[in-house]
Each structure stands twice: as structure tokens, then as C-alpha cells.
């Protein structure tokens, strides 16, 4: 398969590993921002192959995991309103909120439907003119343009029963927030692949310039990730951090103009609450005033009590890179993919689920 096979080439991988081993001297901490990267690293066993002085931490790049309980509670409450159909990406329906989940709400009679894209939600809106369709908009800059497109299409087709609960989040502000917390000392970041295909590599420049952190945008194949690590090691050892793209087939420095324009037309920056991290200014995407009639938050004023987090769950610390899943007392004992306590165990790209699926276990 073109664009996949060459990036899984064992010979190329082994050469890169040899070079990383040769060049890497300092003890360094690298964070892979994306859940997709964490999965790829585990799936291909890369942690075992990298030298022990390179420590890999998982970051907050899992859209389901970082959705705040209060936002989820709001979505659940909307599901219980008469005449409302809540549409959501699949993983989201299983995430426990304060007291319930969309899945439980569905069993209790709420009309909750899994869709694969915002286009499917729009289709449901077309087919159910008497109902209000709420799409739970989660995800980073990768999904936001497609949801912006669905709103523009609704506008064009004069569909007046389609609403988006915009819980979208943006990556550069959360990277800054995590660094400003000062809990983890990072030497390098493997920057997201698909997000960067949209926003490009420029938005990470502050990391290299202001924080002196090496950056490399990576794809999701083992050779992509090793190329990124190789670049990070070289930047760190030479003491010259920059933003490198180790994913040239997918990412241009300036990003994808058409997608960015769509996103900017419909959304503007706003604050967002991140699970386990809190409210981060400028890290969310709100619907612009021109499109506020599509804003589920404005249309349905649901009141929810302050969110409650599950006792003992350390998803927040995991998302900040402060703790690893096995350090959680609930991990594998109480919290499993079948009965998740926290969101990181639900999403297939959540750190806890990845550690559970691919990591050491059963003694």
C-alpha cells in the first residue's frame, strides 16, 4: 500500500533506530501529543526499541478524553429534552459524565444516535424536520473544518433544525497551558499529524523560540515516528530547537488553507474546559455570531450541576503527562475498557485504553 508500506519498512526503521542510539546521549523527555501516536508507538513496540535515556510521555491529544464532564452532562441533558435527537461520534457515547453517559441516557429513552460524521447528523436533520438535531462537536482542528462545512451546508439548504454543541479544542494553546503549569519538564514534542495537516507547522514556533522545546510533526507509521524522534534527538543534542516536519507527505508549513478558511469563517477562539486541566483561554472554538442560530448551547439552555469526577480517577494527571496509567489505583483493577471509570479508558486513542490493550499485564 503506497504511503504506508514504505513507512513500515523494517530496514529503514532499523537504520533510524541505530542512528537515534548513536546520537542520543542526554536523558530526555519527549511527549507525543496525539492519542494516535501513543497507539502507533505501542502497536509497533517502539518504546522497547528506543534507548532507555529517551522517555516517552503521552499527551492530551484525544478528543474524547479531554471533553469536560460538565460539557458531557450538558449533552446528556439535551438528550433528555423532548423532540431532541442527539448525534455523536461513537466513542463519546460510552464516556461517563458526572452521573450518566449518553449510552445510559439512550437506554433510558433519550434519542441518541451514533454518526460517523457531521454530514450524517445533517442527513438526520433533513429526514426529521419536526425534531431538533444536536451534533456533539468534539475534536481538534482536524474535525472542526468538517463541522464548519456542515453548518455552512445547513445554511445553504436552509435547514433550521440542526444545532452543534461546539466542544472543539485547539492544540497550540493547550501545549502552552501544559508547559506553563510547570508540572512536566519536556525536551521535545512530537506534534500532532492530522491536526498539523490543517494548521501547518508555524503555530508551534513559539515552543521552539520561547520555551526552547524541540518540535517535530509526525505521521502515524513507525518510520514517521522514528524520523520525528531522530529529528528531536538531533535538535536537543545540538541545543538548537526548531519546528521540523517529519510528515512531509501530509503536512505543509502553512497548513491547509481551504480547511482553515472554513474553520475561521464559522468559528472563533474562545475558552474551553479540558478534563483534568481546567478552563484554558483561547483553546476552544465557539460559533461566530453570524452562525449562532446553529449553536446548541444558545438554543437549549440546560442547567447542569457542577461536574463530579470519579473518585480515584487520575485521567487529568495522565492527560497532563504527569502520571502514567499504571500509576492509577483503578487501572485494570476497577477501570477497564468494559467498565471505564475515566474517559482515557474509553476512547480507542486514550492513553489508559492503549496501555491496557497493548501494555504489560496479567503479571
Amino acid at each position: 500500500m503506497k504511503y504506508v508500506n514504505e513507512y513500515r519498512d523494517p530496514e529503514l526503521g532499523k537504520k533510524l533506530l541505530a542512528r537515534i542510539r548513536r546520537n542520543s546521549r542526554k536523558h530526555i523527555k519527549l511527549m507525543e501529543f496525539c492519542g494516535g501516536h501513543t497507539v502507533a508507538i505501542f502497536k509497533h513496540g517502539l518504546r522497547q526499541l528506543l534507548p532507555s535515556n529517551i522517555e516517552m510521555l503521552s499527551g492530551p491529544g484525544c478528543p474524547v478524553c479531554v471533553t469536560a464532564s460538565s460539557d458531557l452532562d450538558k449533552a446528556i441533558a439535551m438528550g433528555h429534552l423532548p423532540g431532541v435527537i442527539v448525534t455523536s461520534f461513537g466513542d463519546m457515547v460510552r464516556v461517563p459524565g458526572s452521573a450518566s453517559s449518553l449510552q445510559k441516557a439512550k437506554a433510558e429513552g433519550a434519542d441518541v444516535r451514533i454518526v460517523y460524521s457531521a454530514q450524517d447528523a445533517l442527513k438526520i436533520a433533513r429526514e426529521n424536520p419536526g425534531k431538533s438535531i444536536v451534533f456533539i462537536g468534539i475534536g481538534f482542528e482536524t474535525t472542526a473544518p468538517t463541522i464548519a462545512a456542515s453548518i455552512l451546508q445547513a445554511e445553504q439548504e436552509k435547514i433550521d433544525n440542526y444545532y452543534v454543541l461546539s466542544l472543539h479544542k485547539t492544540c497550540p494553546p493547550i501545549m502552552k497551558a501544559i508547559l506553563d503549569l510547570g508540572e512536566v519538564k519536556l525536551d521535545g514534542i512530537i506534534c500532532p499529524g492530522h491536526v498539523s495537516a490543517v494548521i501547518g507547522s508555524m503555530p508551534y514556533r513559539f515552543l521552539a523560540e520561547d520555551y526552547r522545546i524541540a518540535c517535530a510533526v509526525s505521521g502515524f507509521e513507525p518510520v514517521d515516528i522514528l524520523m520525528a524522534v531522530d529529528s528531536l534527538v538531533e535538535q536537543i543534542e545540538s541545543g538548537q530547537p526548531r519546528v521540523d516536519i517529519a510528515y512531509r507527505r501530509g503536512v505543509k508549513p502553512e497548513g491547509n488553507r481551504a480547511a482553515l478558511e472554513l474553520m475561521e469563517k464559522v468559528f472563533e477562539g474562545g475558552e474551553a474546559e479540558w478534563r483534568g486541566i481546567g478552563v484554558v483561554p483561547g483553546s476552544g472554538l465557539k460559533l461566530r455570531t453570524e452562525y449562532e442560530k446553529y449553536d446548541a448551547d444558545k438554543k437549549f439552555e440546560v442547567k447542569v450541576s457542577p461536574a463530579k469526577e470519579s473518585k480515584g480517577c487520575i485521567c487529568g494527571a495522565v492527560l497532563r503527562g504527569v502520571s502514567t496509567p499504571p500509576e492509577c489505583k483503578l487501572f485494570r483493577r476497577v477501570c477497564t475498557p468494559e467498565r471505564p471509570v475515566g474517559p482515557c479508558m474509553v476512547s480507542s486513542e486514550g492513553s489508559c485504553a492503549t496501555y491496557y490493550q497493548y501494555g504489560e499485564k496479567r503479571g
Binding site: K43, G45, L46, P63, V195, E349, Y356, Q357
Partner: protein, 338 residues
Amino acid sequence: MRQIDKEEKILLAHGSGGKLMQELIESFMPELANPILEKMDDSAVFDLSGRLAFTTDSYTVNPLFFPGGDIGKLAVCGTVNDLAMSGAKPLYLSLALIIEEGLPVADLKKIIRSISKAAGKAGVRIVTGDTKVVGQGSADRLFINTSGVGIIPGGVDISAGNARAGDKVIISGTIGDHGIAVLSQREGLKFHTPVPSDCAPLNGLVADMLTASENIHCMRDPTRGGLATTLNDFAERSKAGIIIDEDKIPVDKAVLAACELLGLDPLHIANEGKLAAIVAAKDAERVLAAMKRNKYGSKAGIIGEVVKEHPGRVVMKTNLGASRIIDVPVGELLPRIC
């Protein structure tokens, strides 16, 4: 025979036990006819002798028709394969239909024809059956249950708990074809794929394998949960470890591409015409050669072996020389978000 109107739908009355029901059942008969069924008594009566294998399975699939098969073919092949996996020669099947009111009669006919064809191919007879019709919303168009009986030849002892260190792991062909074929037809996810479902009866292949060797220890068709689930079951029940080689697992190019796109693992995806077997090392090549001569095993390969280490666990050696644990999938397979 009465012509079927294209628009004709199954009505609740078709399940009432009255004339409509009789007509419906009689319209199936020419497709399924055999001397045991034709008697139409309350139970099928026949002679059997030897060690009996008996299995049952219910079939629900969305959509009912998919590239390479339909629910009818699935209902026959699935039960035939379950019998074959214990080494049995499948003989007789029951067929129970739960039909949702409103199902087009033409669709039902098509499915019955498909059942007849699949049974013919597998060399089994449908000897007893039942039809129920339920109101709209009480079932999803059509549910089928089939049970089957077969005879296990002497000397055959196949069970998931029989794997021994040193045994070889064999897969009969490419994995994930059925799951991807069905997924590609789902509402909201439609994509064109040249991959048809692999749905097929495997009893002929199993017979060839049993002729080649008496040392087939475990055998299973990796349906729901995929190859990962089957191998984990072998490892757990046999209290042995299994090591497989990423390079050696056959996956069709299009299946691999679909999996990449959706973020799914071919090891977790359902098959309906493949089997995984654990065979004594000394006979592995001979069994493999016999499989390759059968059309349902032409792409068979040895993909790994049973080891003493890490009992209960399946480990895969990756292309880069690392290893990772292969676990069973959890819940429904969902495409990734970003």
C-alpha cells in the same frame, strides 16, 4: 406456482398459522426439499450413529445483503463451520426465521434461495424449520437461527484447550474480509471496496486437513472478535503462550487500506470463511499443503507457534523486531474520530 408481486411485503398474518402462512412455507419448500423435511412432521426423524457434534447460532446482520453473501448464506455457513471446527462432518440443520412485518417477500425468497445454495454446497440438509412474524420494530427485518448436527470421525480430538508448546499456528487465508465487506455497506459509512465477504462452508477444507493429519489440536473459525479473539482463546484454554509474526499474517490490500482509514485492526475483524488451526509441528507442512490444494485454503500459511512462555497470552513480533501483546477487542469496533 403463484407469481410474487415485487412490492409484496410480509404481513403479521403470514405468521398467524393460517392460510397465508401455509402458502409462504409451501413457497419455500421447492428450494429446501429433501425427504426428511417434506414429511412436515413436528420433528425431523433420522438415524445417526457415532460421536455427535451439536451446535446452534443466531444470525443478525446489517445489511441483510452484502458483497459476497447475505444473511441466509451466513446462517448456513456459520453453523456448518461451527460443526466442522470440532472435526465433525456436518449433516443436518434446522432453520428458524423471525421476520419483521414489512420485509419484502422478494427479499425473503432471495434469502431462501441463498440458504438452499449454501446448504447444497456444504452438503447438508435443512430438515426442520419454523417461521415467526413479529410486528414492526420488534425485530430488525430478519433474524435467523440455525442449529446443526454432525458426526465426528473416530480418533479426532479437537478442542481449544489442546495446544502444546512447539505446535504451529496456521491460518487458512486473508483475514478481515467479511467485517470490512459488511462495514462498507453500513449506512453513513458507505465506501466502495472490491473485497467481498469470505463467507463459505469450510467442512470440505477441514475434511482435507483431517485426512492429512491426526494431530490437529485446535481449530476455530475467527468470526466476531477476529483472529485476536480466537488465538487468545486457544492460549487461555491451553494455558500456553502463542507467538505470531506480523509479516506472515495474510491481509488483502483493500482490507488493509480500509482498516488504515478507519483506524481498525485486521486482527479484530470478523471472518466467515477462514479457520485458525493449531497443529503438531511435525505435521504442519503436510496440513498446510493439503489446505493449499483446497480453494478455501489456497492462501493458507503458518503464522506462528505455541510456546511455554507467557501462558494465556498472545504476542506478536512486529516488523521492526519489537513485540506487543495481542488482546481481544472490547465492545463494538468504532472508526476513529481524527
